[in-house]
């Protein structure tokens, strides 16, 4: 069974808090607020009920789903969901600690401005339906293989996951700009030589500049 999620608006960004996350930060007007999510999660425990008997481990929970469903696909999906939840817990915990260091170093408004700048750029790409596949093929850019990247390129992400998850106040475009900068020179050179191969994620060794890209 999937762990519940709690989408709580904090300081202009929504954060997902999962059971087990120790802290979540909100930065607002120069004030750093640490929230103990035990308050948010208080409904998972009751003094009248033995928590051991009602809170099976994740592994047991997965086994229970498997036993009840008898469906192998369900078993695999549960395992993936458990893995994702564990990753998100780690990200939440470590991300909060990083946020403190960023605020101390650059000030409380800094990351909000950075996120705002990026979100202006990425929002249209997650909402519009225009596909970039033709452009990629024309320019002989290797097509993505993952389902998420394919959905982004094809402009079908919103229909696949609507509404957009609130925590997507993210900086996903930042690594993308760095990767684009590296790979574009190689793509241009290989287009000239007619030797474009491989996939976008494997081209990390190359550096270069592609002056046509202007993120606005």
């Amino acid at each position: 069974m999937r762990l519940p999620r709690f989408d709580i608006p904090l300081g202009g960004d929504n954060h997902t808090i999962l059971p087990g996350a120790e802290t979540e930060l909100s930065v607002s007007d120069g004030t750093v607020v640490t929230e103990n999510d035990e308050h948010a999660l208080s409904t998972t425990e009751s003094p009248d009920i033995d928590p051991v008997s009602v809170e099976p481990s994740l592994e047991n929970s997965t086994d229970e789903v498997a036993r009840m469903s008898g469906n192998r696909e369900s078993v695999e999906l549960s395992g993936i969901e458990q893995k994702i939840d564990e990753m998100i817990l780690k990200a939440e915990k470590f991300g909060s600690e990083l946020e403190i260091r960023i605020v101390e170093r650059f000030g409380a408004e800094f990351m909000r401005k950075v996120r705002g700048m990026v979100e202006k750029s990425i929002s249209p790409h997650l909402k519009k339906g225009e596909s970039a596949f033709n452009w990629m093929e024309e320019h002989r850019i290797p097509l993505p293989k993952s389902r998420l990247a394919t959905a982004i390129v094809s402009g079908t992400l919103v229909s696949a996951s609507m509404p957009l998850p609130p925590p997507f106040g993210s900086l996903l475009l930042v690594p993308g700009v760095v990767l684009w900068s590296r790979n574009s020179a190689r793509w241009a050179a290989e287009r000239g030589a007619g030797t474009v191969e491989g996939d976008a994620s494997s081209l990390r060794e190359d550096e270069g500049d592609y002056p046509e890209l202007a993120i606005v």
């Binding site: 990753m87 170093r105 993952s146 550096e207 993120i215």
Partner: protein, 106 residues
């Protein structure tokens, strides 16, 4: 229009790389979107923290410039972080290890 498409491709490249590093292609797209966003958030913050302490003000100023774009801001960060490309690779790999439970926080 062309820049619009390139932005979309850059976004997809980021997602592709992170999904590949984490091995989560089988997860739901909602979960992947959530996870890749948090991943990128951590990588970006750790890159910013690699800017030498004495050059902190230059980062603030770069963000305060009128008409600043993500690309121009990253150009500044690239000049301020020593050996930026190597640092970027290290942070991507380290963050992936963190998500997989294989890295110590540092």
């Amino acid at each position: 229009m062309t820049n619009d498409i390139k932005e979309r491709i850059a976004l997809a490249m980021s997602a592709e790389k992170i999904v590949d590093l984490l091995g989560v292609d089988a997860a739901s797209l909602d979960d992947q979107l959530l996870l890749t966003g948090k991943f990128a958030d951590i990588v970006t913050k750790r890159l910013l923290l690699r800017v030498p302490e004495e050059r902190t003000e230059e980062v603030r100023q770069a963000l305060a410039v009128e008409g600043v774009t993500l690309e121009s801001f990253l150009d500044t960060i690239r000049t301020l972080v020593p050996d930026f490309d190597r640092a970027f690779d290290e942070e991507m790999e380290w963050t992936a290890a963190l998500f997989r439970g294989e890295a110590k926080e540092r």
